[in-house]
């Protein structure tokens, strides 16, 4: 059992009526990434979604704990922000990326990233305004300035930057390359009204771009964005 051959062969021969795996014939070519795949869209099962519903609040709280308690235990803004972003990934995988995208608007993501950078720079520049050096915490006009200045930098600065940028990278990578003539005008409005496959899906090149995937991939992309709208949040039918 050293190669992948035995399994593939068994796949090809082992299914008598093609009834297994719902309405599809078994795979015979050994490919695992099916670009020929048809049938009902994939919604997460009723086991995974409740588990994510249970785990996500804990994980989110834990990410905040790691961020806020960075001064006393391992952790800090970077790790905590990454955990918070990972919670969003988890929700997106369970409930569909389009639904998550509508729930977590672009404004929120951008506000997190930009706000974090501004807060960090602000905390650094306040001492400069008061006649000190950049990030000279002692001059901050708050009680226990060094400790709370640092906490502010970690929590409101680094944590929010990392969380926002990671969520943004996730969403933008999930959307892929836009070939609609540079800075896509239609895409932005398209997403605002929450109608994923509209303009974007009609343009065959919009999912392809430089990488130029085979037609099957684009098809799958369309099916998926059709399916993962609000309907996907209502609970998998199976």
């Amino acid at each position: 059992m050293s190669g992948s051959d035995p399994d593939v062969d068994a796949d090809a021969e082992g299914d008598p009526g093609g009834g297994f795996g719902r309405d599809r014939p078994p795979r015979s070519d050994g490919r695992l990434d099916s670009d020929r795949r048809q049938g009902t869209p994939y919604t997460e099962s009723q086991v995974i979604m409740p588990t994510v519903k249970i785990v996500a609040p804990f994980a989110f709280t834990y990410g905040l704990f790691v961020t806020f308690h960075g001064g006393g235990s391992p952790g800090g803004g970077f790790q905590g922000g990454a955990i918070v972003a990972a919670v969003v990934f988890m929700i997106a995988f369970a409930f569909g990326i389009e639904a998550t995208r509508q729930w977590l608007a672009n404004t929120v993501v951008v506000a997190l990233a930009v706000g974090g950078a501004l807060v960090f720079a602000g905390i650094g520049l306040v001492p400069v305004a008061l006649g000190g050096a950049f990030l000279q915490y002692e001059l901050l006009p708050i009680p226990d300035p060094v400790k709370y200045g640092m906490e502010g930098v970690e929590i409101l600065g680094i944590g929010t930057i990392v969380a926002g940028v990671l969520m943004g990278l996730f969403f933008v990578l999930a959307k892929g390359f836009s070939d609609a003539g540079g800075f896509a005008d239609a895409d932005a409005f398209d997403d605002e009204v929450g109608d994923g496959p509209g303009v974007n899906g009609d343009d065959p090149a919009s999912d392809g771009g430089a990488a130029a995937p085979p037609p099957g991939v684009t098809d799958d992309g369309r099916t998926g964005s059709d399916a993962s709208g609000p309907a996907a949040t209502d609970g998998g039918e199976r």
Binding site: M1, P74, Q79, F93, A94, I97, D220, A232
Partner: protein, 101 residues
């Protein structure tokens, strides 16, 4: 005196025993790497990495106990969460490649 300094046998404390146990879990992880490498399907690999991840969570927790640094349990907790994320992400990807993603 914490519990990990308690002597088990001549010259061996509970902390030493726990470190050896963690090494045992790590050896099991190396064994499970076989399935992650050989496959044959992607699901086999994800499954093996998921089991490996659970193993690693136990290793991290035992290390935290054996080194008498309870804050190390935080890392195990983070890992338990992200291991779950990794499992559902990859398993979904293998089916829906480019679809729901």
């Amino acid at each position: 005196m914490s519990l990990v300094d308690a002597p088990l046998a001549a010259g061996v404390t509970l902390g030493d025993f726990l470190l050896v146990a963690a090494a045992g879990f790590a050896v099991l992880a190396v064994g499970m790497l076989y399935r992650a490498v050989v496959g044959p399907t992607m699901q086999d690999r994800v499954l093996a990495v998921n089991v490996l991840g659970t193993n690693t969570v136990v290793i991290l927790a035992i290390l935290g106990a054996a080194l008498d640094e309870p804050t190390f349990l935080d890392i195990a907790l983070v890992y338990a969460l992200l291991n779950f994320l990794m499992a559902i992400a990859i398993s979904k990807f293998t089916v829906e490649r480019g679809g729901v993603l």
